[in-house]
């Protein structure tokens, strides 16, 4: 059975990364009850902003270009890790402003609006960065491979998985252990009551959407060195994200994490026996689970069902 070990490890790391992608998605679904089909595009946007931060090509005209590219890669990478998510978060806030007319209407409108937004963002990426495949550099320290038990593992995958665990814990702490988290959860549960208690619901939604979008951008910067960066990477990303939400149950934090690990393992194990069908396994998993549990593993009743 030893030959299965690398596939299990791969599956688990993939699952953790899927969880990182799904975090922002589930937060937005929970508070705004909007399925954000533009989540993948914000993911791509974050990664492209990081690419520009590391590359610094746009600085070339100002004379700062050479100085910037002379800085060590790790410092530019760390900066990109901050700038990518922040700008993706800003884009997310703009999207939230556009989404306002859709609140309180059928969930279809949120779905359609964000689908349109995804199309627009993808075209903007075409305009800004071209259509070709790009490569995001990572510092030497987390690049390359190492040997363990006679098997070769990629260092970067472990870095990314560790980063995903930290991000999941940080978001969990924010939601469960801070007053901000209490307001966010209350907003998801009963927005009228939150407004009655004197919280500004509009600002809350704007901030939560921005935060969710920033998490998408962060996932983008982390994932893209593994997956490669193309303008339509968004659609490859948003599909696992919503599969995970549907499997885990809408609005459930641990449901999403559990589902992400399950999906990762399913893809990893399928990859061991039938690599060509690895991606397919997640759809089969969704159909099987929703066939028996209509609300997913840990889902509760949601306004999105009507």
């Amino acid at each position: 059975m030893l030959n299965l070990v690398p596939h299990l490890v791969n599956g688990l790391t993939l699952g953790l990364l899927f969880a990182l992608i799904a975090l922002g998605f589930t937060l937005i679904v929970g508070v705004m009850e909007v399925i954000n089909l533009a989540h993948g595009s914000l993911f791509a946007l974050g990664a492209y902003f990081a690419l520009s931060t590391i590359g610094g090509d746009w600085l070339a005209g100002t004379g700062l270009g050479a100085w910037w590219q002379g800085l060590p890669l790790w410092s530019r990478y760390v900066l990109a890790l901050a700038i990518g998510p922040v700008l993706a978060g800003a884009a997310g806030m703009v999207l939230e402003l556009c989404l306002r007319p859709a609140y309180g209407k059928a969930p279809l409108y949120g779905l359609l609006l964000t689908f349109g937004a995804a199309l627009v963002i993808e075209e903007l990426i075409h305009l800004g960065w071209g259509t070709g495949e790009q490569h995001l550099e990572v510092p030497q320290a987390i690049n390359g491979a190492f040997l363990m038990g006679g098997l070769i593992f990629s260092k970067y995958k472990f870095f990314a998985a560790g980063f995903a665990i930290l991000a999941i814990l940080a978001v969990w702490l924010l939601l469960e252990r801070t007053p901000y988290g209490a307001v966010i959860k209350a907003g998801a549960h009963d927005s009228e009551m939150v407004r009655a208690l004197g919280y500004d619901l509009a600002t809350l939604r704007l901030l939560v959407f921005g935060f969710g979008a920033a998490l998408a951008g962060l996932a983008g910067v982390i994932m893209v060195p593994i997956w490669g960066l193309r303008p339509h990477v968004g659609i490859d990303v948003v599909i696992p994200a919503f599969l995970i939400i549907a499997i885990g149950g809408v609005g459930s934090f641990w449901g999403a994490v559990l589902a992400a690990l399950l999906v990762g393992l399913a893809v990893g194990i399928t990859g061991a026996y039938a690599p060509a069908w690895a991606t397919m396994s997640m759809y089969i998993l969704l159909i099987l689970i929703l066939g028996f549990r209509a609300r997913g593993l840990l889902g509760r009743k949601s306004a999105l069902e009507s």
Partner: protein, 330 residues
Amino acid sequence: MITLSDLPAKGGSPLTWPMGIFLLGLATAPFWLGPIGLYQYLGIEIAIWILYAMGFNLLFGYMGLHSFGHGAYLGVGAYAFGLFQLHVATSLWGGLLAAVLAATLAGALVGLFLAHRRGIYFALLTIAFGQVFWFSAIKLHAVTGGEDGLLGIPRPPLELGFARIDLNDNAAFYWFVAALVALVVPLLWRLVNAPFGRVLQAIRQNELRARFVGYEVWRFKWATFTLSAATAGLAGGLFAMAQESAYPDVMSLHQSGLIVMMVLVGGGLVSFWGPVLGVILYFIARDVLGGLTETWLLWYGLMFVVMVMVRPEGLAGLVHVLRPGKGRAR
């Protein structure tokens, strides 16, 4: 928000004014497409997509079930047509029958899973099933030809017993497609204005109440899903003829989303004719805007976003707004 049910029930004969205008447009298109700067093949594409969109709107607009994976059934139809031509026999009717049957079967099976689902879970499952079909089309190399698809599908001649018409010419093929559209659209019109159509609208408005009145809701959902898949299959068979190939791209989430956009922009939520307007607008936008700028999809997408924000009832909804008091119950 205006909904379809704010339209008065029509009943009776499908020979209404809009139907007359539609059929007239369909019948005369080859004569004016050229002079206004368009081309014959565009007419074929639009006619096929009208068929697809109107079948889709049974589900989307009338029943309020939002399928985001409908391209799958168009694709199944296209592949079935192609496989029939390449492996069974070169026959027009046989191929189209295979296309419709294959899509009906696929829709009926998937429909069994979906018929008990509502709202967002319905939409998510249609995406998942759509992806399963799309993925299978790419990976089952031996059958579907993978990413390239089936190439060199012939356009079999039309055998009418007394005559044999070659459809390789686009003008002749347009007449054939237009004749099918002119047959199917009045049938759909009759269907949605029959008691069946009223039940669909009742289910959209209040599923629970429809169940209490005694309708077996899931059967209606299943039947509508299957019917709309069958229409997509017919459109798919014709599309395989038009393109002389069948490929997985039409089954992708992107393409399945585009049909939703077309139907919504045209006003499928408020009018039987909405999908027609939406399809025409999309293809004209693709050709006219696409000729001016490479980023036409950006502008189309922006227009769509603004439309969902301010006028979700679409183009056909504008007609309602311009004619206050007519057909608007509130």
